[in-house]
């Protein structure tokens, strides 16, 4: 696995075509780190000239903003923009729909203008450019359902890229009752990931897991590290770990291509 670091590349006088924004979850969360690695393997296999910021990367401020702390958000944003602009970054890809949304929609107003892709969009481009092929034999016939991340789906109307990739795996994609623009949230957004839920009669991730289980899946595919955690917890709560796995689309592709 080859993960070039931006500062080192620039020092050598090289300019990568793409910045991989790893995000806090992708850097620190044990489950999400696997997604970062799977995605890097895909980038490597397609010979993409990319780099990461490494220790220069910092929270986009998404969670702070949604928690109501606009100050902290803007401080993070301005700091990040200074670094990104310093490296003359043009193109960013990320596996985290929250980073995707913030970088794409909320940074331009503060001076950060980049072409921002969710990793499912970027992989789709690699395929259409002929730089990557997905092996549709390894996962053939598996029953898969896809959980739309709110910040990819409703927030940015990206519904087809993840589905297109899933279909290319040769699997049997079954939609949940609530899908695409009417998909139910996993319960992590709006900074809920970092706090206990308010008083109620159920956890949101359990409700969403039940909806996923109605499709009798073998795999619940996600495109967001936070959704992944919520759905994985839901499957554990329902004691279905032996029958159902939760995987990011990047991991499924890495599995299919045996990377």
């Amino acid at each position: 696995m080859n993960v070039p670091i931006m500062a080192e590349m620039i020092a050598k006088g090289e300019q990568p075509e793409l910045l991989f924004w790893v995000g806090a979850a992708g850097s620190y969360d044990d489950r999400a780190k696997k997604i970062s690695r799977a995605f890097v393997k895909i980038l490597n296999s397609a010979n993409v000239n990319f780099a990461v910021l490494g220790t220069e990367e910092s929270s986009t401020g998404d969670a702070a903003k949604r928690a109501g702390n606009e100050f902290l958000f803007q401080m993070q944003a301005l700091m990040n923009i200074e670094i990104l602009n310093g490296y003359e970054v043009k193109k960013i890809v990320t596996c985290d729909p929250h980073s995707f949304n913030t970088l794409k929609n909320e940074y331009p107003g503060l001076g950060g203008n980049y072409e921002v892709y969710h990793h499912t969009q970027f992989i789709q481009n690699l395929i259409s450019e002929g730089r990557l092929k997905i092996d549709d034999t390894i996962l053939k016939g598996k029953r898969v359902t896809f959980h739309d991340p709110c910040y990819l789906g409703r927030a940015n109307e990206v519904y087809e890229s993840p589905r297109d990739l899933i279909r290319r795996l040769g699997v049997n994609l079954t939609e949940m009752k609530r899908n695409k623009e009417s998909a139910l949230c996993c319960g992590a957004g709006g900074a809920q990931m970092f706090k206990d839920a308010e008083k109620g009669d159920k956890e949101i991730n359990i409700l969403r897991t039940e909806e996923a289980l109605e499709t009798k899946p073998q795999i619940i595919a996600t495109g967001c590290p936070y959704c992944n955690t919520m759905m994985t917890d839901g499957i554990k709560f329902k004691e279905k770990e032996s029958e159902v796995i939760v995987k990011d689309i990047a991991e499924l592709i890495a599995d299919a291509n045996q990377l």
């Binding site: 993960v3 790893v22 806090a24 850097s27 620190y28 780190k33 970062s36 690695r37 890097v40 990461v52 490494g54 220790t55 990367e57 910092s58 929270s59 969670a63 702070a64 949604r66 928690a67 109501g68 702390n69 606009e70 100050f71 902290l72 803007q74 401080m75 301005l78 700091m79 949304n101 794409k104 929609n105 909320e106 503060l110 709110c150 910040y151 409703r154 927030a155 940015n156 109307e157 623009e181 009417s182 139910l184 949230c185 319960g187 992590a188 957004g189 709006g190 900074a191 990931m193 970092f194 706090k195 206990d196 839920a197 308010e198 008083k199 109620g200 159920k202 949101i204 409700l207 969403r208």
Partner: protein, 437 residues
């Protein structure tokens, strides 16, 4: 002497419309209590949205059954209003079915026939609506925010429509020349036999009575809008026009904050500089704790909400029994706005502090913190209302003005501030994931 009814009609019409205009001005004033927000960009897209969403009802049919019924009532309402135009002219000039000679017997009969069919369809649709609200167990009509006035309001609207449609048909059924001509009495011919025993004079009295009650009812209904969720039939148009055109995930960046943050981060700024004399910095309040802190678009949203509850029925927090209901956020914002409006009316045009605000007295922090910002409510709204933006503005107030975030969120924010991640990890460990395989 023969002009009495014309004059009476004129007075009725002018006072009916006049009182409505008088009240509508209050709504404009109240909406303008909100903060400025520029929504005049991209007019072409805005007109398109208004045409599709309000006029074309494109989002109503996402739920096909209620959507179809709603379209019947809506089309019926709009088209039958052509007939109201004739009624108004007849009333003012003492004529009877003035359009008939202009349009010709056949075409006039055709039009009235269409109106009659629509009226009957509206009547049936309204009965089904009533059953849905009062008999079927549809969860979104049974939430606790629907108890009391909101439920009564919903039913009153349906009763109004039932009565108005019935009067329209009765009016036609008892109009002897119209029945004798036999063109356009598609529905009313079946009602006419019930009136066969009456003398022509009595029949005429019934017809005139139905006619008068019908037009009076319409004027009362018009004025009822001001007190009702039914105001959406008018405000849905501006509300969809001024709706948000940005991606739903894009939350506005507060400019006041940008100014301060840039100053903080500017190495050449002198933190001890004495502000220039004469320029008294008015400290901007961050976020919203009362209706006047919200934007005029958010206040327009509150007046436009028709309490259908599609938002709440899709809200993950509501679905899992949390206090939060996006519909209730809109209803409480409107309630508070109306209270502020009455306060202004009673105090000669200025607001007198009543010791209350939208936050705590209407909307609790518990509701605000239950939101996942998933945009399901925004997506669901058939007329482009954005409850999420109100929730976010109120969270901003809680955090930036009161430091009143839940403890775990304070910890998360401290982590972001100190080590650039929501968890307590060292920023120097950001690349460890590369080596861990």
């Amino acid at each position: 002497m023969s002009y009495i009814s014309n004059i009476l009609f004129g007075v009725l019409l002018i006072s009916g419309i006049g009182f409505f205009v008088f009240n509508i001005q209050k709504i404009f004033r109240n909406i303008n209590l909100g903060k400025d927000l520029n929504r005049n960009d991209n007019k072409a897209q805005r007109f398109k949205n208004m045409a599709m969403i309000a006029l074309g009802q494109s989002k109503m049919v996402k739920r096909p059954f209620s959507g179809l019924l709603h379209i019947i009532v809506y089309v019926g309402f709009v088209i039958i209003n052509i007939e109201v135009l004739e009624i108004v002219i007849d009333g003012l000039f003492g004529t009877h079915r003035i359009f008939k000679p202009f349009l010709g017997d056949w075409f006039y009969g055709f039009l009235i026939g269409v109106f009659e069919v629509l009226a009957a369809l509206v009547f049936v649709a309204v009965i089904i609506f009533w059953l849905r609200r009062n008999v079927s167990n549809i969860k979104r009509f049974l939430s606790k925010e629907m108890e009391g006035w909101p439920k009564k309001d919903g039913n009153l609207i349906l009763y109004f429509e039932m009565v108005l449609m019935s009067l329209f048909i009765i009016m036609n059924a008892t109009d002897s020349p119209f029945q004798e001509a036999g063109i356009g009495n598609v529905i009313s011919q079946f009602l006419a036999p019930f009136f066969e025993g009456y003398t022509p004079e009595n029949l005429h009295i019934i017809e005139r009575t139905a006619w008068w009650i019908h037009i009076t009812g319409i004027l009362i209904f018009l004025n009822y809008l001001f007190y009702s969720k039914h105001l959406h039939i008018l405000l849905a148009f501006p509300n969809t026009y001024f709706g948000n055109l940005n991606p739903k995930g894009q939350f506005a960046n507060s400019e006041a904050v940008t100014k301060e943050v840039r100053l903080m981060m500017d190495p050449s700024a002198d933190p001890y500089a004495i502000p220039e004399e004469g320029i008294e910095e008015v400290p901007e309040k961050f976020g919203a704790s009362d209706v006047a802190d919200l934007s005029w678009v958010q206040l327009l949203n509150a007046y436009t909400c028709t309490e259908c509850g599609r938002c709440t029925s899709a809200c993950p927090a509501s679905l899992t029994g949390k206090e939060l209901s996006p519909r209730n956020i809109m209803m409480k914002t409107r309630d508070r706005l109306e209270e502020v409006g009455r306060n202004i009316d009673n105090n000669n045009g200025t607001f007198k502090d009543d010791g209350k605000q939208l936050l705590n007295d209407y909307i609790t922090p518990e509701e605000l913190w239950a939101c996942t910002s998933c945009n399901a409510c925004v997506e669901e709204c058939p007329i482009s209302i954005d409850p999420l933006s109100i929730i976010m503005d109120m969270r901003k107030y809680l955090v930036m003005e009161q430091s009143a975030a839940p403890q775990e969120l304070n910890m998360m924010m401290t982590n972001v501030e100190n080590n650039g991640a929501p968890w307590q990890y060292n920023q120097q460990d950001r690349l460890n994931w590369v080596k861990e395989e």
